[in-house]
Symmetry: C2
Subunit: 357 residues, 2 copies
DNA sequence: TTGTTTGATGTTACCGGTTACAGAAACCGG
DNA sequence: CCGGTTTCTGTAACCGGTAACATCAAACAA
């Protein structure tokens, strides 16, 4: 069953395909009678022009590429949904790749998107660009593509591209300050691979807070994982079995928090009775169930919207200067921690709706 | 900055573009010296042919469309991730739309995919096809497209298309039987919109179980929501405030379970002390944290894999007969309910790894 | 009346590839 | 030395659209 083309329509209507094209795109230029005849035939065959041909001819592309790790992580799930809702409203076609945090897949995905000649790109790099050569490849590809690109979530230093980020350093810093202010000196931390910039930033914040308060950072309390709950659980078990168990713990993303809480449950430890905890990143289910979970949240919807706004601006005006947007953290703390945090001026007075009784 | 094309390469290499094309596709037909010269120039310019042009010329499309509601629902998130991992391995390009359970968006998305001339389609319809005319449109579109299509999750009766489904009727039926076998006669149910086939199926199972056991189905205990946790919470509050509160509750998807559990928490009610509960669909976090949650799970990965297998088979052999795959439910029950269920032969003896102590 | 504008449509080239076909050079056996 | 292969490469048509330009008749202005 062959698809009907513009030629078929033209032949049947007894006009040239230019006329059919005009009917499709600039109807007003065509005689009403002719136009109606052509439209009838189009309707009859339920003809609709090929975007492939059209894009080739227009050397324009209404597709945008989305490259993210872990689509099934709630964080990126929400991001993705927000993005596709916007692309939809803007008549853009989203082409989506999942890299699984594997830098080689970044390269492969970017290659495909390059060949597709997408008109824009939203990209959360698997690994921060650095020594690793495969990621230099990714950088090279982005340059080759020469297409409006907005980074999301993962910051890349010295990289002239727009981006929407969350200030992980600040989050780690303030979370730790809060725990210190609450009287803790032995603070464990579970984070992701320190190859990842975001993981490093959060840990740096943790360090800075210690330094500032004249506390030593004890290496034995720093647990480098991979941002998965499985690893975080293993590490947390280890941490909770230390001879001198930390009095408080900072976990650096949603899955890490989950892993930690799991280990905690296994040991029958309770927050805040036995240990204090602050996580970075939210966990929807806990919100839904109003479960206690002290954490620093960042609005995923806001991030995605900001990213798309930057992208659209760049598509419309290719000369726009790259711009970085930093999303403000939202502190969701129980009454006691909140009081402490406010008293020490670590967070502003009131964040309406953000705190839980 | 114009993209380099096959013509640029040809010119620089002093050959015709046919030769360049041959180098790209059937290298063996080209003289080694010429080939190397062309390859060098290709490398130098980092040229890579346009998929748009190539697809047009080949009248073949290596894209596949994915149309699902709620990408940010963990269920579809996992499905999507599995799908894109497979498309990736098969060198297919995934184009993904989120319909938000809005049938009009189904139509819009399918239109775009039709115009894109995708080579295949994975589709979870927003609403079951029936009287609603807009969904007839979707059906029409699928016919027009004449492209291999696999439905996922949402069954459509009398529709000659492959699909991968979960037997919601059976799940609702057995879940209810278990609760009855555990001694309950007053069983509440919170479900999604009954316009949705999957919601109806689950509720029908609930009814059948009652009927079979000679129990009346009390209308006041049937709560029709929309499969969101917010609505489910509202309905559950209502249900839990009934003068004679049900002794057990069936919730029909993951978010509905969440809403119910939230309402339960508000009323300070405990499972199983105050009330018994079985949900349909899993909630990852509960798994991670080993939290008690009696439910009927279905493997999302398995569903997505089956769908892609069907799709690929159809793409390779367009004459393949449509085929429906029904995914087996997995019962995750606490020891007591499991004992009851096995004793009454509602579930098979042992499902290794499925039960929790 | 004639030159000019206007409106509707056809002709043609082009977008960036692929491929059927043709032709030239080299090779090979008789 | 000649006809037939084989090997390599170029020509041209095509995929399904768009758009600049050409054409031509009718309408209009001088």
């Amino acid at each position: 069953m062959k698809k009907t083309t513009i030629n078929d329509i033209a032949k049947e209507a007894g006009v040239s395909k230019a006329t059919v094209s005009r009917v499709l795109n600039h109807g007003e230029l065509v005689d009403e009678e002719t136009r109606n005849r052509v439209l009838d035939i189009i309707q009859k065959h339920r003809y609709s022009p090929s975007l492939v041909a059209r894009n080739l001819s227009n050397r324009a592309s209404n597709t945008i590429g989305i490259v993210i790790p872990e689509i099934d992580n709630a964080f990126y799930g929400k991001i993705l949904r927000t993005i596709v809702n916007i692309t939809d409203a803007e008549d853009l076609i989203p082409v989506c790749f999942d890299t699984g945090n594997n830098a080689e897949k970044d390269v492969r995905s970017l290659c495909v998107l390059r060949d597709l000649r997408v008109g824009g790109l939203i990209y959360a790099p698997s690994v921060e660009y650095g020594a690793a050569c495969v990621t230099k490849q990714a950088k090279q590809l982005l340059d080759d593509m020469g297409v409006p690109t907005v980074l999301i979530d993962r910051h890349v230093p010295d990289f002239q591209r727009s981006g929407v980020f969350f200030d992980g350093f600040d989050a780690g810093y303030r979370a730790t300050k809060i725990l210190i202010a609450a009287g803790h000196v032995n603070i464990g931390v579970v984070t992701g691979s320190l190859k990842l910039g975001i993981a490093r930033a959060r840990l740096d914040g943790y360090r800075k807070a210690h330094e500032e308060c004249g506390l030593p950072v004890r290496r034995a309390l720093v647990f480098e994982g991979d941002f998965t709950s499985e690893t975080a659980c293993l590490l947390s078990r280890e941490m909770l079995s230390l001879p001198e168990r930390p009095g408080a713990v900072l976990t650096c993303n949603n899955d890490t928090s989950l892993g930690f809480l799991q280990a905690l449950g296994e040991k029958k430890l309770k927050i805040p009775r036995d240990i204090e905890h602050v996580g970075i990143d939210e966990i929807d289910v806990f919100d839904d169930l109003h479960m206690r979970y002290n954490h620093i949240a960042r609005s995923r919807v806001e991030m995605a919207q900001a990213a798309m706004a930057l992208l659209l601006a760049q598509i419309r005006n290719p000369d726009a200067r790259p711009e970085n947007v930093w999303i403000a953290p939202r502190f969701v703390l129980d009454a006691r921690l909140e009081r402490v945090a406010v008293k020490h001026k670590i967070i502003a007075k009131t964040q309406k709706g953000a705190s839980r009784p």
